[in-house]
Amino acid sequence: MAVITDALCPFCGCVCDDLTIVTENNKITEVKHACKLGAAKIMGHHRIKAPMMRKDKHSEFKEVSYEEAINEAARILSNSKRPLLYGWASAVCEVHKKGILLAEELGAIIDNTATVCHAPSTLAVHEKGLPSATLGQIKNRADVIVFWGSNPVHAHPRHMGRYSVFAKGLFSEKGRKGRKVIVLDVRKTETANMADEFVQLEQGSDYLVVSALRAILSGHADVVPESVGGVSKDALLKLVDTLKTGKFVGIFFGMGLTQSKSRYKNIDNAISLVTELNAFTKCVITPMRGHYNVTGFGNVCAWETGFATAVDFSRGAPYYNPGETAANDVLIRKETDAAMIIAGDAGAHFPADSVRHLARIPIIQIDPYWNATTEVANVVIPVAICGVEVEGTAYRMDGVSLRMRKMIEPTHPPDTEILEKITERVKVLRGE
């Protein structure tokens, strides 16, 4: 029996780094301190045993060798005129680097799961910057915590305990008792049930409510009507007062802002509110990132290509324009003629029209698990699980880079090895 202490969790953007893992004969037998999400991933499930291929999307898969699958993957990609390399968020940064090299070699589009998550936040950050802080600063200093369109009880279960609501720190020694917690959402979530104030908005009215708060903050309460987006003017006035008088306000936001009407403009407006609040007090804003290393992909892609996601290499130089080059844009326009889906599940998490197109073109899947993408794949290459069987770098939701630890020896090759081999083979096929 071996015990690993201070292990890191490869599930959500919290990347909790205080887990204890018990192993026996290269199997994980116990996970301590993890939430339900982290424990389920680390304890593991039924894996894809061996590489698989099939003649067409309707026939059964047949097991093949890694060499055969890699050669077929390289053939599909090098024959493609408009390949898409998508996923990445459940893999470490070392995998992202290899993926970007392959995208450049192919002249492909590379996009990650942020495209259905926080990519609109990135667009807003281009416009306004991101007045943010590390989770450590928030834990140690924040006396007002706001969750807007975000439900950490379900999506980031240990966030409140480790970094925000309940966490005790240097200047927040009272923990929950010393904090005011505000939740803005369209429904009364379990997170809202724990808040001091719950502000219920009408669906799709976030932009209006942020604008009303900004108007009040800048001394123009007189122009705000009696109700905005289902929220009474009194509640808005009270909220502005709470935000202004807090010593350190930490705002966290989720898909309620990025996926609703107005998309990135909601976040753009919210960042302006935060900037303006800093004339009165200290206020920071942080996206609640979903996958444990979706932030890592944004970082690696930005330093390698200049852009965080949705990068199109077809012109020979990186080009980026979400709305044109994001994964769902090119799938819905039926532009993509082959795709590699790795460390993400487009089959489960893209709208039906996008999946319908994936079902018509050759698909290579690189993943430890059988998922909805497998159902539309032609070539399936199983790999080791990053953060459980493979060490590497991941970025927490606040942009702090952490080293993921290996808990057990892998039974499958790592993504990096598969990507290197595919890239080498692509070069051979192209006569380079």
């Binding site: 999307k57 709305g323 489960a348 079902a359 159902e375 539309v376």
Partner: protein, 124 residues
């Protein structure tokens, strides 16, 4: 009875805990469902009934569930293949499809809930 609602999709703890195990019945139970408050549920039938959720983008059969956190006329389906059968694919010029705020109609049905494999097979 057809109930007109606004549909949103999103994460839940059970959806997340089964996300790497999508062929399991636990994943289907966690994600092939539609939550309405008890008042809206009562207009349609009882929790546990199969309902057809229809939008202009598609339709899907899921299980009716009660969640009294929802205001009247707001339906929630956990993110996943069942939700994505009916969401708005339009990325509105910024790459993000419409996963929240979709006008939808819900009615009770005797049709069965498709397995993930069957659901995706419809796209082939």
């Amino acid at each position: 009875m057809t109930l007109k609602v606004t549909l949103i999709t999103g994460r839940t703890i059970n959806q997340g805990a089964t996300i790497e195990n999508k062929t399991s019945s636990d994943y289907m139970e966690a994600t092939a469902c539609c939550e309405l408050n008890s008042k809206d549920v009562a207009l349609l039938g009882k929790p546990g009934a199969n309902v057809r959720v229809k939008t202009k983008h598609g339709e899907v059969v899921v299980k009716l569930k009660e969640n009294n956190g929802n205001p009247d006329g707001l339906a929630f389906i956990p993110m996943g293949p069942w939700a994505n059968a009916v969401v708005d694919p339009d990325t509105k010029g910024c790459g993000m499809p419409g996963f929240k705020g979709i006008p939808a109609e819900i009615e009770v049905t005797n049709d069965k809930i498709l397995l993930m494999k069957e659901l995706i097979a419809r796209y082939k």
